[in-house]
């Protein structure tokens, strides 16, 4: 088990929290919480094996959130002295006073057991920030150079994003938690102009809650995947354009994770369903009155929210309201049975307690309800991907994500991908291109005829899901098996463009 870095623990965490929380109490706050965090990120970008840009950045600061006279007040600061922390608490109370003119609904929070002195560290082996920059550049350059030697590749882009997030949380109820986690996302893209076209082919390795070991053989075999890119790219450049129309789809987890994210993950955030995101990202068709009755998908559809999954990007021990994280059901046998919650939403709708989905992406932002790792469960003894393909007479096998878009109530979506293989009489016969699939969320999930077994399950995800105003990014994973869908509308994107 790794330990929280001593230099973070050496910060005056408790002193600042005590000063801020006491000042908030003195000024009449009914509730106050204090969150100090440091988020360190490193990004590297290479083009044709040469370093194009790198950035090693951090974000260090603290936030005080109060409820006073039933109104939120939030302020964030950077000066690490008890006096400054107390002043930030005063600012938060002042914000609540000004904001009271706009507030018409008293704020209350669902109760949560006190977790005093709790610590949690994610599961990783090598701190990505312990590895010298030149070693990382050399590894990415080596992979890139290997690809550039292949005559089927003109250019190679490589990137690496790594984050270490450290948080200390304390509130006036007595909870205090200290946590640390890391995440890593390497991507390689091979490009070529040929056959009168330009196209690219990207690695499918998902971002993961892992350390630098992810690049050196633990959790993913990068050398093998990179070696396949030239052949896959060449085949794509030569591939015929797809014929538009309805197809049966076998969708690989490397593509399906994003469809889950957009059409289930965001749709089952209770703050959206209640209209709190209405002016920005939107609401949800899965409104609260449909809880327990909405047939979201076919009876083989089971979806959970889980902030405890090992290596998940949303995985953590306690959320940003001091709530112990857990796994919970969202869709059971195709029916909507749960939402993602924070403490205010849980109390507002009489749901008892929060399921630990409050998150702020920086010390300068207020926690909002963010996504758990929302995952589609595999069938216990379910089929392999090949078996799913064998059930299709005429269809497409889709791998890898690319373009994505969904409406503000999460009905109408359109996705593309990295690779599309035509399936004829139960067998993959080669790539086609210019493909997008378009559907309505419930039609799509109700058309799911089979889900693969655990052997097909992959934990995909995104480092930077956007939500809220001011905008926040959150890391989130989505696990799923391969799955078979019947009769989904396929567009030819060239024809859509009017060509």
């Amino acid at each position: 088990m790794r330990q929280i870095d001593p230099d973070f623990l050496a910060l005056p965490l408790r002193q600042l929290a005590d000063a801020a929380l006491q000042r908030a109490r003195d000024l009449g706050a009914e509730h106050a919480d204090f969150r100090l965090e440091r988020v360190r990120g490193e990004t590297l970008n290479l083009f044709d094996a040469r370093l194009e840009g790198s950035m090693d950045a951090d974000d260090l600061g603290y936030a005080v959130r109060v409820i006073r006279d039933g109104t939120w007040g939030f302020a964030a600061g950077i000066e690490l002295t008890p006096e400054a922390a107390a002043a930030v608490a005063e600012q938060a109370v002042e914000v609540a006073r000004v904001a009271a003119a706009v507030n018409r609904e008293p704020v209350e929070l669902a109760p949560e057991p006190v977790h005093a002195g709790a610590t949690w560290v994610s599961s990783y082996e090598v701190d990505p920030f312990s590895v010298p920059l030149k070693e990382k550049v050399a590894l990415l350059a080596d992979w890139s150079a290997g690809l550039l030697k292949d005559p089927r590749v003109d250019h190679v882009a490589a990137s690496l994003m790594q984050v270490k997030e450290q948080k200390f949380y304390a509130d006036t109820a007595g909870t205090d938690t200290t946590q640390q986690r890391v995440r890593t996302h390497p991507v390689l893209t091979a490009m070529r102009a040929a056959e009168g076209r330009f196209d690219d082919m990207r690695t499918l390795a998902p971002p993961a809650g892992r350390g630098y070991e992810y690049l050196t053989g633990t959790g993913w075999d990068f050398p093998s995947e990179v070696a396949l890119l030239p052949e896959l790219l060449e085949e794509k450049l030569k591939a015929p354009s797809v014929e538009a129309g309805p197809y049966d789809l076998v969708i690989h987890p490397s593509n399906l994770w994003l469809t889950i994210h957009e059409s289930i993950g965001h749709a089952t955030e209770l703050d959206r369903a209640l209209g709190y995101e209405a002016a920005y990202a939107g609401t949800s068709f899965a409104t609260f009155d449909k809880l327990g009755t909405l047939q979201y998908g076919s009876p083989i559809m089971n979806v959970t929210g889980d902030r405890t999954a090992e290596h998940g990007l949303a995985t953590i021990g306690y959320d940003d309201e001091g709530v112990a994280t857990r796994r919970f059901d969202i869709v059971r046998e195709g029916r909507l049975v749960g939402y993602q919650l924070d403490r205010r939403m849980a109390l507002l709708k009489g749901l008892g307690s929060s399921n630990g989905c409050a998150f702020a992406d920086s010390p300068g932002h207020v926690p909002i309800q963010r996504m758990a790792n929302v995952s589609l469960l595999p069938a216990g003894d379910g089929p392999s991907t090949e078996e799913l393909i064998s059930r299709v007479e005429r269809g497409l096998f889709i791998l890898g994500d690319k373009s994505w878009s969904i409406d503000m109530q999460r009905y109408n979506f359109q996705f593309t991908g990295q690779r599309f293989y035509l399936i004829e009489n139960g067998r993959v016969t080669g790539q086609v291109r210019d493909v997008a699939y378009q559907a309505t969320t419930t039609d799509f999930w109700r058309s799911m005829e089979a889900v693969g077994g655990p052997q097909t399950y992959v934990l995909g995800g995104a480092m930077n899901c956007g939500k809220g105003q001011p905008g926040q990014v959150a890391p989130v994973s989505h696990g799923c098996p391969s799955a078979l869908f019947r009769g989904v509308k396929i567009l030819n994107t060239v024809q859509e463009g009017g060509k």
């Binding site: 040469r50 840009g53 790198s54 939120w72 003119a101 010298p132 939107g282």
Partner: protein
């Protein structure tokens, strides 16, 4: 330690051949509301130090927040080390300089919750009006003030103060089936009339009382300035010279090179940026915290001047660093943080364009815009918060929402009217880009690919 002292000390501490130091002093205040009540709010302060060290042709970039005086040497040393370990940077050029801003020594003045001291009560009164009229208001008000201090070993001492404010207001019927949106960009909230915005939204909710269903298809469509901004900003972001030269984008010439000089539109449309444009002023010099395809840390401090990206309908320039300009043989035209589109003189207002429409769609907003194909810049996305049918010059009702598949470059070629430009707030991209002046445009055959059930 003042930001200016931080710059000087960091430059003095660096043992690299060259050094650039950027200090960003930031402050924000915001109010977020839904269903006629507050949901979240806050004020923040931030301070970011970015040290860019250059050793030979190697570059190291380290950025830290809340740096205390005792930590400054460590940050500089980390950047120096990174520059020594880095392979040669392809875009390495002599640093820009020297130049000094006349207000270099002035302190940074933060924003605060007080920026809303007149606006918040007005918003509260508007909530009361809306509640009485059976309307729910949702939205966000934000004010940011960032002061950037840029110093270099080549003698740059440049400073820029950037206020950025926006208000978004969304009105809905109680059953959430009718929705209308308005947004404005502002520098200080003194010019925001929230009651007037609400009144405009009430008018649109009334239009929506008559509901009409239309199938997918290609429709004559009036695209309002906010949506034109969202489309043109995507075009602007996609206008990197290096990607074009590599054959990757819609601005690549088949067989090699870029399409600079080619006609994109029969209309004499102009797309430009100008750091001094009234009301949308932005930094008059390059501020590059990190290198990449479209920016170079070596260009920090490079003066920015009014730039035409499209002139008289022809592609005039692409986003260039000094390095990519040498590669492409074109002028160095770095990105500028505002965007202006103008058509021929005498363009009409959107209301006048509606009045002269025999039958067509009037959009409010485009949303969830994503690229489908970079080589045609085919974008997909959706309409939201009101699509209206216009017949014989009048709005006759609200139409269902659509998913569209369209290229902004294709639209430039097909638009049949460019209206009068006005200051506008992009709906989708306002998190990143708020300084825009755009016209409404008329397109005879906008591709509404499928119907969206969302309301």
């Amino acid at each position: 330690m003042t930001p200016q002292e931080t710059v000087e000390r960091a430059l003095a501490l660096s043992k690299a051949d060259d050094c650039v130091v950027i200090v960003d002093e930031g402050s924000t205040a915001n109010l977020r509301y839904a269903g006629n009540t507050l949901t979240t709010n806050g004020v923040t302060r931030s301070s970011r130090l970015t040290v860019i060290s250059v050793t030979g042709q190697g570059v190291g970039v380290v950025s830290r927040t809340a740096v205390r005086p005792g930590q400054l040497a460590d940050v500089v040393a980390a950047a120096d080390l990174a520059s020594r370990e880095a392979p040669p940077a392809e875009d390495a050029r002599p640093l820009v300089g020297p130049a000094v801003s006349p207000d270099w020594d002035a302190p940074a003045e933060p924003t605060s919750i007080a920026v809303f001291s007149a606006f918040a009560p007005a918003l509260g009164e508007t909530f009361a009006v809306a509640e009485t009229a059976n309307r729910k208001l949702y939205g966000f008000a934000e004010h940011l003030l960032t002061t950037t201090f840029l110093g270099s070993s080549s003698g740059l001492r440049l400073r820029h103060d950037q206020p950025t404010g926006r208000l978004e207001l969304n009105a809905k019927s109680p059953d959430m089936t009718r929705s209308a949106w308005a947004g404005v960009a502002t520098r200080d909230f003194s010019d925001v009339d929230v009651a007037a915005l609400d009144a405009g939204l009430a008018r649109r909710l009334d239009w929506a009382k008559r509901r009409l269903d239309l199938p997918p298809g290609r429709y004559e469509t009036l695209i309002p300035p906010s949506s034109v901004a969202d489309l043109m900003i995507y075009l602007y972001w996609s206008a990197g010279a290096r990607d074009a030269a590599d054959g990757r984008t819609v601005f690549s010439k088949p067989g090699g090179g870029t399409r600079v000089g080619e006609s994109l539109s029969e209309s004499p449309v102009r797309l430009s940026s100008d750091p001094g444009a009234a009301g949308i002023q932005c930094a008059p010099f390059v501020i590059a915290h990190a290198g990449g395809r479209q920016r170079s840390v070596f260009d920090n401090g490079l003066p920015l001047s009014p730039t035409d990206w499209i002139h008289d309908g022809s592609l005039a320039a692409l986003l260039q660093t000094r390095h990519s300009a040498e590669l492409t043989g074109l002028a160095a035209t770095p990105a500028i943080d505002n965007l202006i589109m103008r058509g021929p003189e005498g363009g009409r207002s959107l209301d006048e364009m509606v009045a002269s429409t025999e039958r067509g769609l009037l959009l409010t907003c485009l949303w969830y815009i994503r690229e489908v194909d970079p080589q045609t810049l085919l974008l997909t996305g959706l309409t939201r918060d009101g699509v209206y049918l216009v017949e014989k010059g009048e709005v006759v009702g609200e139409v269902n929402n659509f998913r569209f598949n369209e290229s902004p470059v294709g639209l430039l070629d097909r638009m049949t009217e460019v209206g009068r430009e006005e200051h506008t707030l992009p709906r989708e991209w306002s998190d990143y880009f708020t300084r825009a002046v755009m016209p409404a445009v008329r397109v005879p055959d906008f591709n509404m690919s499928t119907v969206s059930q969302a309301s």
